[in-house]
Symmetry: C2
């Protein structure tokens, strides 16, 4: 049985190491790249190298950035709020709403005793000092409404109690456009609990 030739098989193997890219997808991507203009393939390779070499974490909010502090932390016109999130990309989901103009704090995960992730594994340590030094007025806990996300939010709200600062959590309820028949009962229960008078 013939083993596939070296360069193409090497590329397939490398792509196959990425979670979510199986062998068939790796093959498909490899053949796609073979058929592309050299320039556009080089541009992909360059982007991979640059992203890995030049991306750093903001020493203040732990966001990914090309400069430290990041663009958001440098912007002194933002409102005196900090939104606590799990991952750097959550920032762009929240910015897209145009409803929030404060700062962020990226935890890089959630508490998860079962995976051995305790408070020391998350980027929480400088949150208190950021609040005090920047006269922050509100903390919005925007971790996911999952067991881990809730535990993380609870942990941080307890941690911040001595500061006597307003701490809020994103509302739970029906997603916009949802068909009630397709929404799980826990979500419906939360929507009933949190019902708003009209």
């Amino acid at each position: 049985m013939l083993k596939p030739q070296t360069h193409i098989i090497k590329l397939i193997e490398e792509l196959n190491k990425i979670p979510g890219i199986g062998k068939k997808t790796a093959q498909r991507i490899s053949f796609f790249l073979l058929k592309q203009e050299k320039d556009s393939v080089m541009s992909l390779a360059r982007a991979i190298i640059d992203a890995r070499e030049k991306t750093i974490y903001c020493s203040s909010c732990n966001n990914i950035t090309d400069t430290d502090p990041c663009e958001i932390c440098l912007d002194k016109s933002r409102s005196k709020k900090i939104c606590v999130i799990e991952e750097p990309f959550n920032i762009y989901s929240i910015e897209r709403t145009l409803l929030y103009s404060g700062y962020y704090h990226v935890l890089h995960g959630n508490l998860s005793p079962i995976s051995g992730i305790g408070p020391d594994e998350l980027k929480i340590s400088n949150l208190k000092s950021r609040i005090v030094e920047n006269n922050i007025e509100e903390i919005i806990l925007a971790t996911s409404p999952t067991t881990e996300g809730n535990a993380t939010a609870h942990y941080i709200s307890e941690l911040l109690k001595p500061l006597n600062i307003k701490v809020s959590r994103l509302a739970l309820g029906l997603p916009i456009g949802a068909d009630i028949d397709f929404v799980d009962s826990v979500t419906i229960a939360k929507a009933i609990e949190g019902r708003v008078q009209v």
Copy 2:
């Protein structure tokens, strides 16, 4: 609204250009790569560059290869058959069966008048001369059992008629392990037509 920072967003955009990789997947892959060891990320970038720069097509069978002619065409111990296939990777699917030890001929597609792909767009031109020069005894048409694949197989069988050579086509029938209730009726019809006496 804040625009994501340059290097990471550039990588997401580059990955997003690959068919089948949506924006979310591109984000996920980018973050995965950021968290990997530098060496393994460089190795992926290197593999992309090498595959694009060093992979060529065999001038005899049109297989992708690092050398011309390719390893298979150079192997004079192979049986005097040519299996006609659509894409280079079909070779490895057929080799895995351990049932075929002949040569290959990669068409790089199928006839498809609707997409403007006629015989001139496929790599058919040297098939006849390969058959004559190498005393080939049988041609196995292994294009897909689709409208295009069947049309291509029919076209090639007509093309080769003057050579008076044995031309065969892969059998159609139930795939191994299939539950008949889940097999489409055209496949069942073909399996009945092609039934084999036991």
